[in-house]
């Protein structure tokens, strides 16, 4: 997208600058494509369009009875399960998970943010954002660019992060693109997760699932901030269609209420 910019003109320039001087409106490339002279592009941390760091606490309203407490086995509500998914959900056995040391099944990347939890977000380095939960004491790392593949899948999988800006709407009235730049989100795509539960009562997702999340921050009047995580889970084995959900968190300035607890299978 280009937009015209007035350039200043000095009448005292030499004749060789004539062509530049008389032409006032010069198309320039979009701001985020500009680079320093001979330098490398700015780091993801420097490019962050908004601040996600800090402590956030779950606001559980929608789907409260599926998220705040463990629902009975087989009670899957409107989840788009395939026949294999339904069968697995009906076969949930928390005792078996405990015996196998797999209490963290519901605390993997595709399930942990659905649980009542506090979340701490920080920058581990200029291209890695860290998200910690106190429920299950889990750590997720969002790497900008290509993350290193781990030796074997773990509960949190491998997450690739980017600053995602949607295409702006077509401008009315204007020859050029719209004046307003649409908001960016933090986009995180997670794969290679160890099979886990997207709901506490054993509703499964498998090793081939792909989790796509958009993290947005909204500042509300009065000084509060909300974090909204909009999620799409695609699982060719256990879900018949993509599963979309959103999770809201409120900013917490009093960080003393952070209480790490271990995973539980029940």
């Amino acid at each position: 997208m280009r937009r015209p910019v007035l350039s200043s003109i000095s009448a005292g320039r030499a004749a060789s600058a004539f062509t530049i001087a008389i032409l006032i409106l010069v198309a320039t490339p979009p701001v985020h494509a500009q680079r320093g002279r001979g330098g490398s592009p700015p780091a993801p941390r420097a490019q962050a369009p908004f601040d996600l760091t800090g402590q956030w606490v779950s606001l559980i309203t929608e789907d409260w009875r599926y998220r705040q407490f463990t629902p009975p086995k087989g009670d899957v509500g409107g989840l788009p399960l395939s026949p294999a998914g339904r069968q697995a959900a009906n076969g949930w056995d928390p005792a078996r998970d405990e015996a196998a040391g797999e209490q963290c099944r519901a605390f993997g990347a595709a399930g942990v943010l659905r649980l009542p939890t506090r979340v701490r977000i920080s920058w581990q380095d200029d291209r890695t954002m860290k998200l910690e939960t106190d429920a299950g004491t889990q750590t997720r790392l969002f790497v900008f660019g290509a993350p290193a593949a781990p030796a074997s899948p773990d509960w949190q999988g491998v997450s690739t992060a980017s600053w995602d800006a949607p295409q702006p709407p077509v401008a009315a009235l204007a020859f050029g693109p719209p004046a307003a730049t649409p908001r960016s989100s933090l986009k995180v795509v997670t794969t290679r997760m160890r099979p886990g539960y997207l709901a506490r009562n054993g509703v499964p997702y498998g090793a081939n699932a792909t989790l796509t999340e958009y993290f947005d921050r909204f500042d509300v009047p009065g000084g509060d901030a909300l974090l909204v995580v909009t999620t799409e889970l695609v699982d060719p084995e256990f879900l018949s269609t993509p599963y979309w959900s959103s999770q809201q968190f409120k900013r917490e300035t009093d960080t003393s209420r952070w209480k790490p607890t271990p995973c539980t299978a029940r």
Binding site: P169, V170, A171, A172, L173, A180
Partner: protein, 147 residues
């Protein structure tokens, strides 16, 4: 004699559907004359309603607690073409807003001051949204510039 074959293809601007303003696009750039952040809602009586181009116009009187009457002129964002698209024909609009009708007007004052406002919403005594303007009401209050 030649016969002309006509092919008509009617196209509409898609951009209208993705406008982020959330309001009907103002012709003539009129909205810049008004300060919509200072909108207010006031009880009024219709004196005249004009279903005309380029903008429909509502003239109304406001009476304060002391019994003083002030006269107001207001333009509405939609022109008759837009009202028609929403089902508000001339007849239906005229029947809803004859002189003497008691209404609740939500308006934005002019930045330059005066008694000419941008009418954002008109509700009748039953609370029905007339002309489909649909704007959010403002805080209750007397119009800021009473003359």
């Amino acid at each position: 004699m030649t016969t002309h074959r006509f092919r008509h293809v009617l196209l509409g601007g898609l951009a209208a559907m993705v406008l982020t303003a959330g309001q009907p696009l103002a012709h003539h750039g009129t909205t810049i004359s008004y300060d919509q952040s200072k909108r207010y809602t006031v009880k009024a009586v219709v004196t005249e309603f004009k279903y005309v181009n380029p903008h429909t116009q509502l003239f109304f009187d406001v009476t304060d607690e002391k019994g003083n009457v002030t006269h107001w002129a207001g333009e509405l964002l939609p022109n008759p073409a837009m009202l028609l698209r929403n089902g508000w024909t001339r007849k239906r609009s005229a029947e809803a807003l004859p002189a003497g009708t008691k209404v609740s007007v939500t308006a934005a004052p002019p930045r330059a001051g005066g008694n000419t406002v941008l009418v954002l919403k008109i509700e009748n005594e039953k609370g029905e949204d007339l002309l489909g303007l649909g704007a959010t009401p403002g805080p209750p209050g007397p119009p800021p510039a009473a003359r």
